[in-house]
């Protein structure tokens, strides 16, 4: 067994408050046969004695002012948390409020706007403009009213042309 592993095991047993006889036999044998590990164990015992002298297990004395201050701070933290929760809720409401405002104020205005015309509607509008061109329509009617040329004799045709010629 390596020295470092032995020392770690010894320390673990030391902190688990194990009696030496409860220590793993291989650890005990190693320490008994290894001068460095034996010195390590002796040094650790010495360190424990020093630590005990330097910092004996003293009770922590805390005055009532500590508790008063703590519960005061806790109240402050509670209020802060409540405020943060409200603020967070408000932040969630903001987009909803914005959406509601949009629906209330902007959508009615959109009703008055003309939607863009479809191609078919545009063509129909153009046709209607043509329909409104009354002199042209009258001409078309006249053309339709003409008998076919085969039935028109030359004299009549000349008379018609003469009529149309200004």
């Amino acid at each position: 067994m390596q020295c470092e592993a032995v020392r770690e095991l010894w320390l673990a047993a030391h902190y688990e408050r194990q009696a030496p006889r409860e220590l793993d036999a291989s650890v005990r044998e190693h320490i008994a046969s290894c001068a460095q590990c034996a010195a390590f164990v002796a040094a650790q015992r010495e360190l424990d004695a020093l630590l005990l002298r330097a910092d004996p297990a003293e009770a922590v004395h805390v005055g009532p002012a500590f508790d008063t201050r703590f519960f005061g701070r806790l109240d402050g933290a509670r209020r802060q948390a409540a405020w943060t929760r409200r603020k967070r809720a408000f932040l969630w409401l903001t987009p909803l409020a914005a959406a509601a405002a949009f629906a209330l104020f902007l959508l009615p205005h959109r009703r008055h706007e003309q939607p863009p015309m479809a191609a078919e509607d545009l063509a129909l509008t153009r046709d209607l403009e043509l329909v409104e061109d009354l002199p042209l329509l009258r001409r078309l009617d006249e053309v339709e009213a003409y008998p076919t040329l085969s039935h028109v004799n030359e004299a009549e045709l000349n008379a018609l042309i003469a009529e149309d010629t200004p």
Binding site: L47, L50, A54, F66, L74
Partner: protein, 194 residues
């Protein structure tokens, strides 16, 4: 449920404020002592301990029952103290330097009767030795040596393996011994002289 403190924490999570007060009263002194050893300053440690309990209060909505309550609380305390130390690193470096200067300049052989070792000096040497340890070594050492946590619970508090705790303790104690060796030597001289 084996840990009654976990039951208290669960009761607190359900809204029983009295359970929190019980936990606070049970652990207040231990957390102050722990923070004092990690931070090396009692006033700052008291402030840190209050922060720890306020943080504990804040975990009410998210607390899930797992492991020992003490490990959970020490984990909060350890992380908080590590953060504080990181923030105050420069100031602590100055403080360590001051402690070093004190321990080097003070010569008990000159001022004290031979063989008398001032406990105050030993204490300041111990504080300096603790302060010299890397954060995790110091936390592991304090949790196991002073707070008397089992290796398993210290591992849970530090969020490392049990084997890592063994190694941290081993290295911490070697460093402490090296640092405090002159005092140990002096003490044995005193013992032999008597």
């Amino acid at each position: 449920m084996t840990d009654p403190e976990v039951a208290l924490m669960c009761a607190f999570a359900r809204g029983e404020e009295a359970a929190f007060v019980t936990l606070y009263r049970t652990y207040r002194d231990r957390i102050i002592a722990y923070c004092t050893r990690l931070l090396g300053d009692r006033a700052r440690a008291e402030e840190a301990a209050q922060d720890v309990f306020i943080k504990l209060y804040g975990t009410r909505d998210t607390y899930t029952e797992r492991g020992q309550f003490s490990s959970f609380l020490y984990r909060i305390a350890t992380n908080h103290c590590f953060n504080l130390r990181a923030q105050l690193d420069q100031r602590l470096t100055d403080r360590r330097k001051a402690l070093d200067d004190d321990s080097h300049s003070a010569s008990p052989r000159e001022h004290d009767p031979a063989g008398q070792l001032a406990n105050a000096e030993l204490r300041s040497a111990l504080a300096a030795a603790l302060a010299e340890l890397p954060d995790k070594q110091r936390a592991a050492f304090v949790l196991v040596h002073y707070q008397e946590l089992a290796y398993r619970d210290a591992a849970a508090a530090l969020q490392v393996s049990e084997a890592a705790v063994k190694s941290l303790i081993h290295r911490a104690r070697i460093s402490m011994m090296q640092r405090l060796e002159p005092h140990a030597r002096r003490e044995s001289e005193v013992v032999h002289a008597m």
